[in-house]
Symmetry: C2
Subunit: 198 residues, 2 copies
Protein backbone atom coordinates (compact mmCIF):
# COMPACT_ATOMS: atom_id res chain seq x y z
CA UNK A 1 0.00 0.00 0.00
CA UNK A 2 1.31 3.42 -0.87
CA UNK A 3 1.28 6.24 1.67
CA UNK A 4 -1.46 8.82 1.41
CA UNK A 5 -0.14 11.94 -0.41
CA UNK A 6 0.48 14.12 2.66
CA UNK A 7 2.26 11.31 4.51
CA UNK A 8 4.30 10.51 1.38
CA UNK A 9 5.38 14.16 1.17
CA UNK A 10 6.30 14.19 4.87
CA UNK A 11 8.34 10.97 4.62
CA UNK A 12 10.12 12.35 1.55
CA UNK A 13 10.95 15.62 3.32
CA UNK A 14 12.25 13.77 6.40
CA UNK A 15 14.56 11.71 4.18
CA UNK A 16 16.35 14.96 3.36
CA UNK A 17 17.75 15.00 6.92
CA UNK A 18 21.28 13.61 7.23
CA UNK A 19 21.37 9.99 8.37
CA UNK A 20 17.64 9.38 7.77
CA UNK A 21 16.68 6.55 5.40
CA UNK A 22 13.21 5.43 4.28
CA UNK A 23 12.57 3.27 7.37
CA UNK A 24 13.55 5.97 9.87
CA UNK A 25 11.59 8.58 7.92
CA UNK A 26 8.45 6.44 8.11
CA UNK A 27 9.01 5.83 11.80
CA UNK A 28 9.43 9.56 12.43
CA UNK A 29 6.35 10.51 10.40
CA UNK A 30 4.16 7.89 12.08
CA UNK A 31 5.50 8.70 15.52
CA UNK A 32 4.66 12.38 15.13
CA UNK A 33 1.22 11.82 13.63
CA UNK A 34 0.29 9.03 16.04
CA UNK A 35 1.71 10.25 19.33
CA UNK A 36 3.26 13.66 19.11
CA UNK A 37 1.33 16.18 17.03
CA UNK A 38 2.28 18.83 19.53
CA UNK A 39 5.96 18.05 18.91
CA UNK A 40 5.37 18.04 15.15
CA UNK A 41 3.81 21.47 15.42
CA UNK A 42 6.76 22.68 17.48
CA UNK A 43 9.20 21.30 14.90
CA UNK A 44 7.39 22.93 11.98
CA UNK A 45 7.41 26.25 13.86
CA UNK A 46 11.05 25.96 14.93
CA UNK A 47 12.12 25.15 11.38
CA UNK A 48 10.26 28.12 9.94
CA UNK A 49 11.59 30.45 12.65
CA UNK A 50 15.17 29.27 12.07
CA UNK A 51 14.88 29.61 8.29
CA UNK A 52 13.55 33.14 8.68
CA UNK A 53 15.71 34.25 11.58
CA UNK A 54 19.12 32.61 11.32
CA UNK A 55 21.59 34.40 9.10
CA UNK A 56 25.34 34.79 9.13
CA UNK A 57 27.56 36.87 11.38
CA UNK A 58 29.02 39.82 9.47
CA UNK A 59 32.43 39.23 11.05
CA UNK A 60 33.00 35.49 11.36
CA UNK A 61 30.35 34.06 8.97
CA UNK A 62 29.05 31.72 11.71
CA UNK A 63 25.28 31.37 12.17
CA UNK A 64 23.83 34.41 13.83
CA UNK A 65 20.44 35.88 14.57
CA UNK A 66 21.75 39.43 14.59
CA UNK A 67 24.33 41.23 12.47
CA UNK A 68 27.16 39.89 14.64
CA UNK A 69 27.14 36.62 16.58
CA UNK A 70 27.35 36.54 20.42
CA UNK A 71 30.92 35.27 20.23
CA UNK A 72 32.22 38.11 18.02
CA UNK A 73 30.25 40.60 20.11
CA UNK A 74 31.83 39.32 23.35
CA UNK A 75 34.38 41.97 24.33
CA UNK A 76 36.17 39.54 26.64
CA UNK A 77 37.46 37.46 23.72
CA UNK A 78 41.01 37.96 22.53
CA UNK A 79 40.83 39.72 19.17
CA UNK A 80 44.48 38.99 18.34
CA UNK A 81 43.81 35.29 17.82
CA UNK A 82 41.71 34.02 14.92
CA UNK A 83 40.88 30.35 14.41
CA UNK A 84 39.73 29.30 10.94
CA UNK A 85 37.29 26.35 10.86
CA UNK A 86 35.15 24.77 8.19
CA UNK A 87 31.78 24.73 9.92
CA UNK A 88 29.73 25.97 12.89
CA UNK A 89 29.89 22.53 14.50
CA UNK A 90 33.70 22.85 14.60
CA UNK A 91 33.25 26.07 16.61
CA UNK A 92 30.98 24.17 19.03
CA UNK A 93 33.49 21.33 19.35
CA UNK A 94 36.48 23.62 19.98
CA UNK A 95 34.52 25.77 22.47
CA UNK A 96 33.51 22.67 24.41
CA UNK A 97 36.92 20.97 24.38
CA UNK A 98 39.47 23.77 24.59
CA UNK A 99 40.01 26.89 26.65
CA UNK A 100 40.52 29.00 23.51
CA UNK A 101 39.55 32.63 24.15
CA UNK A 102 40.17 34.11 20.70
CA UNK A 103 37.77 34.55 17.80
CA UNK A 104 36.75 32.30 14.90
CA UNK A 105 36.33 32.56 11.17
CA UNK A 106 33.89 30.02 9.73
CA UNK A 107 34.45 29.09 6.08
CA UNK A 108 31.17 27.12 5.76
CA UNK A 109 32.99 24.65 3.54
CA UNK A 110 36.40 24.17 1.99
CA UNK A 111 38.05 24.87 -1.35
CA UNK A 112 36.84 22.37 -3.91
CA UNK A 113 37.63 23.39 -7.50
CA UNK A 114 35.89 20.26 -8.82
CA UNK A 115 32.61 21.47 -7.27
CA UNK A 116 33.25 25.05 -8.39
CA UNK A 117 33.91 26.25 -4.84
CA UNK A 118 36.62 28.90 -5.00
CA UNK A 119 38.17 31.29 -2.44
CA UNK A 120 35.36 33.86 -2.47
CA UNK A 121 32.71 31.16 -1.95
CA UNK A 122 34.22 30.36 1.43
CA UNK A 123 34.77 34.01 2.36
CA UNK A 124 38.53 34.15 1.85
CA UNK A 125 38.22 37.67 0.43
CA UNK A 126 36.71 38.79 3.75
CA UNK A 127 39.37 36.88 5.64
CA UNK A 128 42.11 38.59 3.61
CA UNK A 129 40.69 42.03 4.44
CA UNK A 130 40.46 41.15 8.10
CA UNK A 131 44.06 39.92 8.25
CA UNK A 132 45.24 43.06 6.43
CA UNK A 133 43.70 45.24 9.16
CA UNK A 134 46.55 44.15 11.43
CA UNK A 135 44.68 43.24 14.61
CA UNK A 136 45.12 39.48 14.20
CA UNK A 137 48.51 38.27 15.46
CA UNK A 138 47.96 34.51 15.44
CA UNK A 139 46.02 32.64 12.79
CA UNK A 140 45.12 29.07 13.76
CA UNK A 141 44.29 26.89 10.78
CA UNK A 142 41.80 24.36 12.14
CA UNK A 143 40.33 23.05 8.89
CA UNK A 144 39.67 19.31 8.78
CA UNK A 145 42.65 16.96 8.30
CA UNK A 146 41.28 15.88 4.90
CA UNK A 147 42.77 16.53 1.47
CA UNK A 148 40.39 19.46 0.87
CA UNK A 149 40.88 20.81 4.38
CA UNK A 150 44.67 20.67 4.03
CA UNK A 151 44.52 22.35 0.61
CA UNK A 152 42.33 25.11 2.07
CA UNK A 153 44.76 25.57 4.99
CA UNK A 154 47.68 25.82 2.53
CA UNK A 155 45.84 28.42 0.48
CA UNK A 156 45.13 30.54 3.57
CA UNK A 157 48.71 30.13 4.79
CA UNK A 158 49.90 31.50 1.44
CA UNK A 159 47.54 34.48 1.80
CA UNK A 160 48.98 35.32 5.21
CA UNK A 161 52.61 34.53 4.43
CA UNK A 162 53.70 38.15 3.86
CA UNK A 163 51.81 39.56 6.84
CA UNK A 164 53.25 39.78 10.37
CA UNK A 165 51.03 36.96 11.54
CA UNK A 166 51.98 33.78 13.41
CA UNK A 167 50.45 30.78 11.65
CA UNK A 168 49.62 27.53 13.42
CA UNK A 169 47.91 24.29 12.59
CA UNK A 170 46.28 21.73 14.91
CA UNK A 171 48.73 18.99 15.91
CA UNK A 172 48.40 15.61 14.22
CA UNK A 173 49.02 12.49 16.24
CA UNK A 174 47.54 9.43 17.85
CA UNK A 175 44.18 10.16 19.51
CA UNK A 176 44.26 10.30 23.29
CA UNK A 177 43.08 6.96 24.62
CA UNK A 178 43.56 5.26 21.26
CA UNK A 179 45.54 2.08 20.65
CA UNK A 180 48.46 2.22 18.22
CA UNK A 181 47.37 -0.92 16.42
CA UNK A 182 44.11 0.71 15.33
CA UNK A 183 45.57 4.06 14.25
CA UNK A 184 45.81 4.52 10.48
CA UNK A 185 49.27 4.59 8.90
CA UNK A 186 49.26 8.25 7.88
CA UNK A 187 48.39 9.40 11.38
CA UNK A 188 50.97 7.06 12.90
CA UNK A 189 53.71 8.38 10.57
CA UNK A 190 52.76 11.96 11.53
CA UNK A 191 52.82 11.10 15.23
CA UNK A 192 56.18 9.32 14.91
CA UNK A 193 57.88 12.07 12.94
CA UNK A 194 56.44 14.70 15.24
CA UNK A 195 57.56 12.89 18.40
CA UNK A 196 58.48 15.04 21.39
CA UNK A 197 61.17 14.79 24.02
CA UNK A 198 59.83 13.90 27.46
CA UNK B 1 29.21 28.13 23.62
CA UNK B 2 25.47 27.90 23.76
CA UNK B 3 23.39 27.83 20.59
CA UNK B 4 21.63 30.99 19.53
CA UNK B 5 17.95 30.85 20.66
CA UNK B 6 16.41 29.88 17.31
CA UNK B 7 18.99 27.13 16.72
CA UNK B 8 18.53 25.91 20.29
CA UNK B 9 14.76 25.68 19.72
CA UNK B 10 15.29 23.83 16.43
CA UNK B 11 17.75 21.34 17.99
CA UNK B 12 15.32 20.77 20.86
CA UNK B 13 12.40 20.17 18.46
CA UNK B 14 14.46 17.74 16.36
CA UNK B 15 15.32 15.77 19.50
CA UNK B 16 11.62 14.93 19.76
CA UNK B 17 11.99 12.69 16.70
CA UNK B 18 12.43 8.99 17.54
CA UNK B 19 16.07 7.88 17.46
CA UNK B 20 17.48 11.41 17.40
CA UNK B 21 19.88 12.39 20.20
CA UNK B 22 21.61 15.72 20.84
CA UNK B 23 24.47 15.07 18.38
CA UNK B 24 22.20 14.03 15.50
CA UNK B 25 19.84 16.90 16.22
CA UNK B 26 22.72 19.38 15.98
CA UNK B 27 23.94 17.74 12.79
CA UNK B 28 20.45 17.94 11.26
CA UNK B 29 19.93 21.57 12.26
CA UNK B 30 23.34 22.65 10.95
CA UNK B 31 22.95 20.64 7.76
CA UNK B 32 19.64 22.28 6.96
CA UNK B 33 20.75 25.81 7.81
CA UNK B 34 24.13 25.46 6.11
CA UNK B 35 23.32 23.50 3.00
CA UNK B 36 19.65 22.77 2.59
CA UNK B 37 17.34 25.64 3.44
CA UNK B 38 15.13 24.60 0.57
CA UNK B 39 14.76 21.15 2.14
CA UNK B 40 14.12 22.72 5.54
CA UNK B 41 11.35 24.81 4.03
CA UNK B 42 9.88 21.70 2.38
CA UNK B 43 9.99 19.84 5.70
CA UNK B 44 8.30 22.67 7.60
CA UNK B 45 5.58 22.79 4.94
CA UNK B 46 5.11 19.02 4.80
CA UNK B 47 4.84 18.83 8.59
CA UNK B 48 2.23 21.55 8.73
CA UNK B 49 0.26 20.05 5.86
CA UNK B 50 0.31 16.59 7.49
CA UNK B 51 -0.73 17.97 10.89
CA UNK B 52 -3.63 19.82 9.28
CA UNK B 53 -4.64 17.21 6.72
CA UNK B 54 -4.04 13.76 8.15
CA UNK B 55 -6.84 12.41 10.31
CA UNK B 56 -8.20 8.97 11.01
CA UNK B 57 -10.26 6.66 8.82
CA UNK B 58 -13.82 6.43 10.14
CA UNK B 59 -13.84 2.65 9.57
CA UNK B 60 -10.40 1.28 10.40
CA UNK B 61 -8.87 4.15 12.43
CA UNK B 62 -5.74 4.14 10.20
CA UNK B 63 -4.32 7.47 9.05
CA UNK B 64 -6.47 8.99 6.34
CA UNK B 65 -6.78 12.28 4.52
CA UNK B 66 -10.48 11.74 3.84
CA UNK B 67 -13.30 10.28 5.91
CA UNK B 68 -12.34 6.75 4.87
CA UNK B 69 -8.84 5.58 3.92
CA UNK B 70 -8.04 4.32 0.40
CA UNK B 71 -7.83 0.75 1.67
CA UNK B 72 -11.29 0.71 3.28
CA UNK B 73 -12.68 2.49 0.22
CA UNK B 74 -11.22 -0.15 -2.12
CA UNK B 75 -14.20 -2.29 -3.19
CA UNK B 76 -11.90 -5.12 -4.33
CA UNK B 77 -10.87 -5.91 -0.75
CA UNK B 78 -12.51 -8.85 1.01
CA UNK B 79 -14.84 -7.39 3.66
CA UNK B 80 -15.27 -10.74 5.43
CA UNK B 81 -11.68 -10.70 6.76
CA UNK B 82 -10.54 -8.18 9.36
CA UNK B 83 -6.98 -8.01 10.62
CA UNK B 84 -6.41 -6.17 13.92
CA UNK B 85 -3.02 -4.45 14.24
CA UNK B 86 -1.53 -2.01 16.71
CA UNK B 87 -0.24 0.67 14.34
CA UNK B 88 -0.26 2.03 10.77
CA UNK B 89 3.28 0.74 10.22
CA UNK B 90 1.99 -2.80 10.86
CA UNK B 91 -0.51 -2.29 8.03
CA UNK B 92 2.37 -1.20 5.77
CA UNK B 93 4.48 -4.20 6.77
CA UNK B 94 1.67 -6.74 6.21
CA UNK B 95 0.66 -5.15 2.89
CA UNK B 96 4.25 -5.35 1.65
CA UNK B 97 4.97 -8.88 2.86
CA UNK B 98 1.72 -10.78 2.48
CA UNK B 99 -0.96 -11.25 -0.15
CA UNK B 100 -3.72 -10.43 2.35
CA UNK B 101 -6.75 -8.96 0.59
CA UNK B 102 -9.03 -8.31 3.57
CA UNK B 103 -9.42 -5.18 5.66
CA UNK B 104 -7.65 -3.87 8.75
CA UNK B 105 -8.55 -2.39 12.08
CA UNK B 106 -5.82 -0.21 13.59
CA UNK B 107 -5.84 0.09 17.37
CA UNK B 108 -3.20 2.85 17.50
CA UNK B 109 -1.80 1.27 20.63
CA UNK B 110 -2.57 -1.60 22.97
CA UNK B 111 -4.35 -2.10 26.28
CA UNK B 112 -2.20 -0.76 29.09
CA UNK B 113 -4.12 -0.30 32.36
CA UNK B 114 -1.00 1.08 34.05
CA UNK B 115 -0.96 3.98 31.55
CA UNK B 116 -4.72 4.38 31.77
CA UNK B 117 -5.29 3.03 28.26
CA UNK B 118 -8.53 1.06 28.29
CA UNK B 119 -10.66 -0.62 25.59
CA UNK B 120 -12.38 2.54 24.32
CA UNK B 121 -9.01 4.37 23.98
CA UNK B 122 -7.94 1.85 21.36
CA UNK B 123 -11.32 1.80 19.63
CA UNK B 124 -12.55 -1.57 20.88
CA UNK B 125 -16.09 -0.18 21.23
CA UNK B 126 -16.05 0.55 17.47
CA UNK B 127 -14.55 -2.87 16.80
CA UNK B 128 -17.31 -4.52 18.84
CA UNK B 129 -20.02 -2.74 16.85
CA UNK B 130 -18.37 -3.72 13.61
CA UNK B 131 -18.11 -7.38 14.57
CA UNK B 132 -21.77 -7.36 15.71
CA UNK B 133 -22.86 -6.23 12.23
CA UNK B 134 -22.12 -9.76 11.01
CA UNK B 135 -20.08 -9.06 7.86
CA UNK B 136 -16.74 -10.11 9.34
CA UNK B 137 -16.22 -13.88 9.22
CA UNK B 138 -12.53 -14.11 10.10
CA UNK B 139 -10.81 -11.92 12.67
CA UNK B 140 -7.02 -12.07 12.50
CA UNK B 141 -5.36 -10.89 15.70
CA UNK B 142 -2.05 -9.44 14.56
CA UNK B 143 -1.09 -7.42 17.63
CA UNK B 144 2.59 -7.51 18.61
CA UNK B 145 3.94 -10.63 20.31
CA UNK B 146 4.60 -8.64 23.50
CA UNK B 147 2.89 -8.95 26.87
CA UNK B 148 0.62 -5.98 26.13
CA UNK B 149 -0.06 -7.13 22.58
CA UNK B 150 -0.98 -10.63 23.78
CA UNK B 151 -3.24 -9.21 26.50
CA UNK B 152 -4.97 -7.02 23.92
CA UNK B 153 -5.44 -10.00 21.60
CA UNK B 154 -6.94 -12.03 24.47
CA UNK B 155 -9.34 -9.21 25.31
CA UNK B 156 -10.50 -8.98 21.68
CA UNK B 157 -10.78 -12.76 21.44
CA UNK B 158 -13.09 -12.68 24.47
CA UNK B 159 -15.22 -9.96 22.83
CA UNK B 160 -15.67 -12.09 19.71
CA UNK B 161 -16.03 -15.46 21.46
CA UNK B 162 -19.86 -15.59 21.27
CA UNK B 163 -20.07 -14.36 17.69
CA UNK B 164 -19.95 -16.65 14.64
CA UNK B 165 -16.44 -15.43 13.79
CA UNK B 166 -13.33 -17.47 13.10
CA UNK B 167 -10.43 -16.14 15.21
CA UNK B 168 -6.79 -16.49 14.25
CA UNK B 169 -3.44 -15.29 15.51
CA UNK B 170 -0.13 -14.92 13.65
CA UNK B 171 2.03 -18.03 14.00
CA UNK B 172 4.95 -17.90 16.40
CA UNK B 173 8.18 -19.64 15.51
CA UNK B 174 11.76 -19.27 14.42
CA UNK B 175 12.29 -16.44 11.91
CA UNK B 176 12.90 -17.54 8.34
CA UNK B 177 16.66 -17.43 7.71
CA UNK B 178 17.45 -17.32 11.43
CA UNK B 179 19.81 -19.63 13.28
CA UNK B 180 18.44 -21.67 16.16
CA UNK B 181 21.30 -20.78 18.45
CA UNK B 182 20.40 -17.09 18.31
CA UNK B 183 16.64 -17.51 18.76
CA UNK B 184 15.38 -16.59 22.24
CA UNK B 185 14.11 -19.38 24.48
CA UNK B 186 10.45 -18.35 24.48
CA UNK B 187 10.28 -18.31 20.69
CA UNK B 188 12.13 -21.61 20.45
CA UNK B 189 9.72 -23.24 22.92
CA UNK B 190 6.76 -21.92 20.89
CA UNK B 191 8.31 -23.18 17.66
CA UNK B 192 9.06 -26.60 19.14
CA UNK B 193 5.61 -27.10 20.68
CA UNK B 194 3.95 -25.85 17.52
CA UNK B 195 6.02 -28.11 15.23
CA UNK B 196 4.32 -29.34 12.08
CA UNK B 197 4.39 -32.64 10.22
CA UNK B 198 6.25 -32.43 6.94
Amino acid sequence: MAYTPLIAALVEALRGLPGVGPKSAQRMAYHMLERDRHGAQALAGALQAAIDGVGRCRLCRDFSEGETCPLCADTRRDTTQLCVVESPSDVQALEQATGYRGLYFVLMGHLSPIDGIGPSDIGLDHLGERLAQGEVQELILATNPTIEGEATAHYIADMARDLPIQLSRLAHGVPVGGELEYVDGGTLAHAFNGRRKV
